[in-house]
């Protein structure tokens, strides 16, 4: 037992006094064998052990600081390297934390689920829900404490002066209870306010309340009608950033179609109910609904998705995992560099350490001191790194990310791990008293160098792949002309423009005004531009196959477009025609893209003049066939099949105006705004930008990935080069005298240089080979993030390998050139 307790003491103390302590205790025990003695002794040892540790650590830290001060070049190099590594890792973790870890503001989020509609028969994995079915779920389920549905909705606020559009939600059911978020002031909607006619209420965000000076009880004009503010919500509801207003959906349930999937359904499970139980019940209700309303509900089921999985999709998760891994690798390279520095210095301090050992210094004590020194470097470097990140976050992401306890804890942990990692090698050397590194015996350092080259190779290849992806994406052929396009959104009030015809008239008037603006070439309006945030899909089949609708229908994207929209985008008309004035709306004339034609008529029949049966039983008539446009994402494997509806067919909430200009697109912005105001003064435009800006924004994720990985790769390359150069330079310095003698005896500098760099190059070569293997593995991991990079293309590997080879070659040769400057006579005379 005493032996166990003794382990609590610092090793040096234990070695010195362990035996004495044991003997004395045994003597005490012989005189007084009592439990009291044992207790007293245990307590005493615990206290004194803690005291000794603290004392020793303080001593070592003081000593380490003194040593570091005497060698400022070494100290600053080591600290800067650590700061770089910790800074990069912490910065990445800050982003990672922000996106993946930070708890959503919901109460007990683990009980929250999104109810996702699926239709396995039709191959649908994830779909929104119909409000009618949702109401039935609410009625019949017992496993949920509350259920709420919502739909994102842009809301026009008019009333006192300038019209403004804000991002909002329309909710149904116990939405506030599901989230478990209390309004800052006031209340959520009552059940009554969810009914049509009683819904003249609104909740606004704190931000909006402050900005416009609106308070509870006030009446404001929303989408053209008066609503009373009943509550003020926190700015962030955990769903979409920037939600400024919430209104009740207040649907007329009897008029809602069971098959009209348009809301997101959220639910909070009762305490103690498992997801499995809740799902079983939901599936039973789905089967009931299928029997009761077979036509719209055939095959529709649900799955329950945890709220976290819904908010953070797997793609985001993958991206951040990749970045964190890359930063980790960079930190590893930084560690290796510092370890190398320490080893080189341990070699230089060989004499000092030897003397101290000979003078009776305790080996354990010396080891402890070395580790403390490493930790001191790590802590200073880590603090500098964290400070850098703090500044960077404040400058680059104002209000975007916060450095909180988790981030600091992560940074501290990484710092300690780093310190131990790079402090290990030199400390072990002292402990085992092994021969300190000599000219030819540097296996550890060679291994470290090799691994640096390998890691740098992996990072450089990864960066090259992502940069290529980004470049390919930015100049990919999207199926339309992206230059000189102005885009802006607007949301016609559903009360004023409640029929397709009224909406169509609004669009026509706006377009007439806009087309008259000087510098405008053409203009058109659509429900969603390519790569927009919304996807709208429906099922359809060629009219002649209508009987097989249930089994063979094709899912297709659809858009509402005015005449002129496709021409403005520069989408090619392949066959048939676009709409023209005086089109007979009863025919329901539509335009489809080539991909949809291929899916509907695989045999290659001419689609123009044929009809398509839609899910609601109506048929539309194809008047034109146009080229494919990338609607959903640049990197999708096959083009999106798309059906274009004319704008008088149905009403849509938020429309996008697109204008092709002969001048800089944004220069016409004021004129366009004025034109729209002339048509409808209560019609704010928002999201005004150029198509190129819109596309760049949709590639923001790729851009961030590529940028960060490139920075990491560059830093790893730099650090790796410094590491290799350092080791070579050191080898030259150590063998200066030997080289001098050999050169005096007639050896050529080239030969000597070859000898110095030979091993280094072999090591780098081995590292490079390992790096190629690593990069290949990485490539398979990030395959889903790549676009336009040929699978198995050797080009990327060849280029990153040659960059690495060139850099390491230089790093080997440049320091070796010093050999040629050795003056044999001087070198020999010197010591």
């Amino acid at each position: 037992m005493t032996r166990l307790l003794l382990l609590l003491y610092p090793k040096a103390f234990r070695e010195e006094y362990g035996r004495e302590i044991k003997l004395s205790f045994e003597a005490q025990w012989r005189r007084e064998p009592s439990a009291g003695l044992v207790l007293r002794t245990v307590w005493d040892i615990l206290q004194t052990a803690a005291g000794l540790h603290v004392e020793m650590a303080a001593q070592d830290v003081r000593y380490a600081l003194r040593v570091l001060r005497t060698n400022p070049a070494f100290a600053s190099a080591a600290v800067a390297t650590v700061a770089l590594g910790i800074g990069a890792t912490t910065a990445t973790f800050t982003l990672y934390h922000e996106a993946l870890i930070k708890a959503p503001p919901f109460r007990e989020p683990e009980r929250m689920v999104r109810i996702v509609d699926t239709n396995p028969q039709a191959g649908i994995q994830s779909f929104s829900s119909s409000i009618r079915n949702f109401a039935t779920w609410q009625e019949r389920s017992s496993k949920f404490e509350s259920m709420g549905a919502f739909q994102p909705k842009d809301i026009n606020l008019t009333g006192d002066g300038n019209p403004e559009r804000v991002a909002g939600l329309a909710t149904y059911g116990a939405f506030g209870d599901v989230l478990g978020i209390r309004p800052r002031l006031g209340r959520w909607f009552t059940e009554d306010e969810d009914k049509p006619g009683k819904d003249r209420v609104i909740l606004i965000s704190e931000r909006l309340s402050e900005r416009r000076g609106w308070h509870i009880g006030e009446s404001i004009e929303v989408n053209g009608e008066k609503r009373t503010i009943v509550g003020v919500l926190p700015d962030f509801l955990g769903l979409a950033k920037g939600t400024d207003a919430v209104i009740p959906m207040a649907p007329v349930l009897e008029r809602e179609g069971h098959g009209d999937h348009r809301v997101f359904a959220l639910a909070r499970m009762r305490r103690g109910v498992s997801t499995g139980e809740a799902l079983d019940e939901m599936l039973r209700i789905c089967t009931q609904l299928e029997t009761e309303f077979p036509k719209p509900n055939r095959g529709w089921r649900v799955r329950l998705q945890s709220i976290r999985d819904w908010l953070v999709d797997s793609r985001t998760r993958e991206t951040y995992n990749l970045l964190l891994a890359a930063a980790g690798l960079l930190l590893l390279v930084a560690c290796v560099n510092v370890a190398n520095l320490l080893l080189a210095r341990a070699a230089a301090r060989e004499k000092e350490i030897g003397i101290r050992l000979a003078a009776g210094a305790n080996r354990a004590r010396l080891t402890r001191q070395m580790v403390t020194e490493s930790l001191v470097i790590a802590v200073i470097g880590g603090a500098a790194g964290l400070a850098l990140v703090g500044v960077a976050v404040r400058l680059l992401l104002p209000g975007g990310a916060t450095i909180d306890f988790d981030v600091v804890a992560f940074s501290a942990g990484a710092t300690m791990a780093t310190g131990l990692l790079f402090g290990l090698a030199p400390a072990l050397k002292v402990r085992d008293g092994r021969a300190l590194p000599g000219p030819r015996r540097t296996p550890v350092r060679q291994l470290l160098i090799g691994s640096q080259v390998a890691v740098a190779m992996v990072l450089v290849t990864g960066a090259l792949l992502l940069v290529q992806t980004l470049v390919r994406m930015l100049d990919a052929d999207l199926g339309f002309q992206k230059k000189n396009l102005y885009v802006a959104k607007f949301s016609p009030s559903p009360k004023r423009y409640d029929t397709g015809e009224k909406a169509h008239n609004l669009y026509t008037s706006i377009l007439r005004e806009v087309r008259a603006i000087p510098g405008v070439e053409s203009a058109g309006i659509t429900s969603e531009i390519p790569l927009g945030s919304m996807t709208t899909e429906m099922r359809m089949i060629a009219e002649e196959n209508g009987a097989r609708f249930q089994t063979d229908a094709v899912r297709s994207n659809w858009r509402i477009v005015t005449d002129g929209y496709l021409q403005t985008l520069g989408v090619r008309l392949l066959r048939g025609r676009f709409w023209h004035d005086g089109e007979d709306p009863r025919l329901l004339p539509v335009v489809i893209n080539a991909e949809l034609a291929r899916r509907l008529w695989p045999a290659g029949e001419d689609p123009v003049g044929r009809s398509i049966r839609l899910g609601n039983g109506r048929s539309v008539y194809v008047i034109g066939l146009v080229g494919d446009v990338r609607q959903i994402a640049v990197e999708e494997r096959s083009p999106t099949n798309t059906l274009y509806f004319p704008s008088d067919l149905l009403v849509w909430e938020t429309m996008t105006l697109t204008v092709r200009t002969r001048v800089a697109p944004l220069s016409i912005a004021p004129a366009v705004e004025a034109a729209v105001r002339r048509v409808d003064p209560a019609q704010p435009l928002f999201g005004v930008r150029t198509m190129e800006e819109h596309l760049a924004e949709s590639a923001a994720g790729q851009r961030m990935r590529a940028l960060l990985l490139t920075v990491y790769a560059g830093m790893a390359l730099l650090l790796g080069a410094v590491g290799v150069a350092g080791v070579t330079g050191y080898a030259v310095a150590r063998r200066r005298k030997e080289f001098a003698i050999r050169m005096a005896l007639g050896a050529t500098p080239v030969r000597v240089m070859g000898e110095v760099t030979g091993i280094q190059m072999m090591v780098c070569g081995a590292g490079l080979a390992a790096g190629v293997v690593g990069a290949w593995v990485l490539r398979t991991k990030i395959e889903s993030m790549l676009y336009g990079v040929q699978p198995g293309s050797l080009g990327t590997f060849a280029s990153s390998a040659s960059v690495l080879a060139l850099v390491t070659l230089l790093a080997c040769l440049l320091p070796a050139l010093r050999v040629t400057r050795i003056q044999p006579a001087a070198a020999l005379r010197n010591d």
Binding site: E16, I21, Q28, D44, Q47, G51
Partner: protein, 107 residues
């Protein structure tokens, strides 16, 4: 700086003769009539500090009758001066307390 109590007792125990650790513990217990009992942890961590400050030193050779080959310690001149100073300081404090009417009846 006042001397740590354990250090004071150890120095006093070494005043008349060189002793090993266990003998110091016994001596302290006897001298204080059981009021102060040093435990092994306090004893050796204090010895370590006293060695570092040079107030005591370790003997190179051990008395021949010692079969356990224990380590023996001796009070140095510096150490002796320190205990004296400490004792004087304590006396001074006692005097101050007495003048204030706070001294124990019998010392």
């Amino acid at each position: 700086m006042p001397l740590q109590e354990a250090a004071f007792h150890i120095l006093v125990a070494l005043a008349d003769a060189d002793k090993h650790g266990y003998a110091i513990m016994q001596d302290v217990t006897e001298r204080t009539r059981g009021a102060v009992r040093l435990n092994v942890g306090t004893l050796y961590s204090t010895i370590k500090r006293l060695l570092e400050t040079g107030w005591i030193e370790e003997l190179d050779e051990r008395p021949s009758e010692d079969d356990e080959r224990r380590r023996y310690y001796r009070l140095t001149e510096v150490g002796r001066a320190e205990v004296r100073a400490e004792a004087a300081r304590l006396e001074q404090m006692l005097l101050i307390a007495k003048r204030a009417g706070l001294a124990p009846r019998k010392v």
